[in-house]
């Protein structure tokens, strides 16, 4: 794999981290999700301790680390066999689960258990002393257990819970995840849903299917959901086709979330932006919006980025990445292509002539119908579209108009419903908490109408 510039992966499907790559860190089995960039200076605060992220570089995604506090402070150590916590007790575990179900062969129950906070004989000072002597997190947990007067009386299930609680505190675990649409969307939905317009991962997945996003697609998107949509589309294109982000007026929307994906330069070069007015300008080839009159200098006619438009760089440049994290982030070194360059006049001309092959709109703050009315003519015949909205009504109205004006067929307003389950022996049930709404979709296929 070797070294990398700009945080771009040499191999889009690389299974190992590299310096500058973007990672998702799952702390203590989903308790906290943090995006980070593995720059040399990057560090992460876990509990009250700051750990360097350097040990994560060059490790396979999926590796599990544990915080160990040594004489020189806290550091992350690779856990070779990450099987210590009992299966099912980590992520799938429902925090609401209070009633200690009885496992097979577990005859104990809680009738004799008195919770008076006096069950633990070790004091905070004792633990600190152990730490100073270089005791590992696991050793501290063992000590806590053997000094607990109630541990033996607990049910197996409660014992597991006790251990897990102590482990989270004294030996926090950090799981190294590769950011994909799935994890990025889930993390944002959990922590900052408003930044992605309350677009849930199952709804996002549906948008991509319904709009038939796949290799070689030229996808027109309106992304007012922070870039999660643009990133998701680009991920599916894998460096073929184009994602063309369009926007009304003169300022593109922020698509900063795109940086969370580890896109190669190839993929980034396929993400371009242009104003809707330049796409809609009356004649083909009327580049009223483009001040640069240079003829496109593309050697290969496949390139859709105009090389002379660096000055018109989108807002993605320089604005802080909205990373929900406490990580000290060194900005990625930039030698490679930035996502979201202005679309070249040639590309725009081509799209006007051929039409786009998909249209996806996620514009919670715009009037749905006006968007559709404007952009649908840019979609080629028989191509599908999908519009996302947090509210049902604008989509219903929009569907009605599309029907009346006979612009599309296979119209459908739908809503995805997603429920997660806890699956454990004798304790299987849906999670006590679920998301009540992931938004609505209006989908359909444009027809030939002239």
């Amino acid at each position: 794999m070797g070294e990398e510039e700009g945080g771009h992966s040499p191999n889009p499907n690389s299974k190992v981290t590299w310096e500058g790559c973007s990672v998702l860190l799952d702390i203590n089995g989903g308790d906290r999700l943090v995006f980070a960039r593995l720059s040399p200076a990057a560090s992460l605060k876990i509990g009250d301790k700051k750990c360097s992220l350097q040990p994560l570089v060059g490790c396979p995604f999926g590796s599990l680390f544990q915080v160990e506090t040594g004489p020189k402070g806290a550091h992350l150590v690779l856990v070779s066999s990450p099987a210590s916590s009992s299966p099912g007790m980590t992520e799938g575990m429902d925090p609401q689960e209070k009633n200690d179900g009885k496992l097979k062969g577990d005859e104990k129950d809680n009738r004799a258990l008195i919770d008076d906070n006096r069950a633990q004989n070790l004091t905070g000072e004792d633990i600190d002393a152990m730490r100073r002597c270089g005791a590992s997190g696991d050793e501290i947990i063992e000590a806590l257990i053997s000094n607990s007067s109630t541990f033996e009386k607990k049910t197996v299930f409660s014992q597991e819970k006790y251990k897990l609680k102590k482990q989270k505190k004294y030996a926090p675990k950090v799981l190294l995840r590769r950011p994909f649409t799935r994890s990025i969307c889930e993390a944002y939905f959990k922590k900052y849903p408003s930044r992605i317009g309350f677009l849930r991962v199952d709804t996002l997945s549906l948008l991509l299917s319904m709009a038939n996003v796949g290799a070689y697609s030229d996808v027109l998107v309106v992304d007012m959901v922070g870039g999660i949509l643009t990133g998701a589309v680009a991920e599916r294109l894998g460096g073929t086709g184009y994602v063309c982000c369009t926007y009304p007026g003169s300022a593109p929307y922020s698509i900063d979330i795109v940086r969370m994906f580890n896109f190669s330069s190839e993929i980034c070069s396929r993400i371009v932006q242009t104003s809707s007015s330049s796409l809609l300008s009356a004649q083909d080839g009327d580049d009223e919006d483009d001040s640069s009159s240079d003829p496109p200098s593309n050697k290969d006619n496949g390139s859709m980025i105009s090389s002379d438009e660096q000055s018109k760089k989108s807002t993605t440049d320089g604005s802080p990445v909205p990373v929900p994290t406490s990580v000290v982030n060194a900005p990625p070194t930039k030698k490679s292509v930035n996502p979201g360059m202005p679309a070249s006049p040639d590309a725009i001309k081509l799209w006007k002539r051929r039409g786009f092959s998909s249209l996806i709109v996620a514009a919670p703050d715009m009037d749905a119908w006006s968007m559709v009315d404007e952009l649908l003519p840019l979609l080629s015949y028989s191509s599908p579209f999908a519009f996302y909205h947090q509210y049902l009504q604008p989509l219903a109205t929009c569907m009605h108009r599309l029907q009346t004006e006979k612009k599309a067929v296979a119209l459908q307003v739908s809503e995805s419903w997603l429920r997660e389950y806890q699956v454990l022996p004798s304790r299987t049930h849906p999670h006590m908490q679920m998301s009540g709404s992931g938004g609505y979709i209006l989908s359909g296929t444009r027809i030939f109408d002239s």
Binding site: A83, R236, G355, V409, P425, Y440
Partner: protein, 313 residues
């Protein structure tokens, strides 16, 4: 369906050619796949349609029958294919399919193993996701189903991305040659837990497995089998709720003395706009609003989706 060839991609210029697969669209719940052959005809309740009339027309166009009725001719997509394919087995529908593709983290270039192939509903979408550099290897122990699926993939122009093999994956597992080569594995089998150990061998470290099962007992056993080599085991149910959209007219009190009773019920046909002639004049003092409500009949369950990631050690 997936082509690097510009001529075969949707565009304003694309025209229907001899040999193309088109989806004949009557209504959202009445569609049919047809391969265009100059001498052929399509006969349905609307009359007779001559294929020769279709050639040279743009995709998405309206074509007329001998009786003057019309249908639309659409370009096939994996989503449309799932709606028109012949059901040789139970199949996965779009909500599950979309979720599976995302959660399996399938991107272009991935190698995906699938069993059983069934009717190839999911396979078609997996192919779209791995193209243009990746591949889907799909296994079913039912020889005829495998053969029919192969034909379908060929008809859709997907053979470059899909290989169908006949194999008992519960009994023999996946072929050894794929050891450590798969980015993702998908199981839709009656006893998926039997294929879990082999799936673990096939996956690259951190690779993702998904098992689809209609019954909770299957999920329970699969999850038990997954504890050995997998982490991050999560089970979901995903359903699609569709809405009826209508222009509903309410009467208002006073005015014509009829007490505002609605004389005409709202247009019955689902998802259809009520035509203007129909409503104009039937109610003078009425207000009309476009409204949506969930469709009364809906699928209540498809299956549980269990995902797990191969543990790194």
């Amino acid at each position: 369906m997936l082509s690097a060839d510009q001529e075969k991609q949707n565009s304003f210029q694309r025209r229907i050619c001899e040999g193309d697969l088109v989806i004949v669209y009557e209504r959202h719940d009445a569609m049919k796949p047809v391969t265009v052959r100059a001498g052929s005809e399509l006969q349905n309740r609307f009359g007779v349609f001559k294929h020769s009339d279709w050639i040279g027309m743009p995709f998405g166009c309206k074509v007329l029958s001998n009786k003057g009725s019309f249908v639309y001719l659409l370009a096939p997509t994996p989503q449309l294919w799932t709606l028109v394919l012949s059901h040789r087995t139970q199949i996965l529908y779009i909500a599950d399919i979309s979720f599976v593709v995302s959660f399996l983290e399938v991107v272009p270039g991935c190698v995906v193993l699938e069993s059983g192939t069934g009717s190839g509903s999911l396979t078609t979408s997996l192919a779209r996701a791995v193209a243009p550099f990746g591949h889907v290897y799909t296994f079913d122990f039912h020889e005829q189903r495998a053969a029919s699926a192969r034909e379908d993939f060929e008809r859709n122009g997907l053979t470059r991305f899909i290989t169908v093999s006949v194999r008992d994956t519960q009994g023999e597992g996946f072929p050894e040659e794929f050891c450590g080569k798969a980015d993702s594995v998908f199981l839709d089998l009656p006893q998926p837990w039997l294929a879990v150990p082999s799936s673990g061998k096939m996956l690259k470290p951190d690779g993702v497995l998904c098992s689809f099962s209609p019954c909770i007992e299957q999920v329970q056993r699969s999850c038990e089998a997954l504890t050995t080599n997998f982490t991050d085991v999560r089970t979901f149910e995903v359903l699609l709720r569709t809405y009826e959209v209508r222009d509903v007219k309410f009467g208002s009190l006073g005015g014509d003395g009829s007490g505002g009773a609605v004389r005409k019920p709202p247009c019955k046909r689902k998802n259809r706009p009520s035509s203007d002639e129909e409503n104009n004049g039937s109610m003078e003092r009425s207000t009309s609003t476009v409204m949506a409500k969930p469709c009364p009949e809906t699928r209540g369950h498809t299956g549980f989706l269990t995902f797990a990631r191969l543990r790194c050690s």
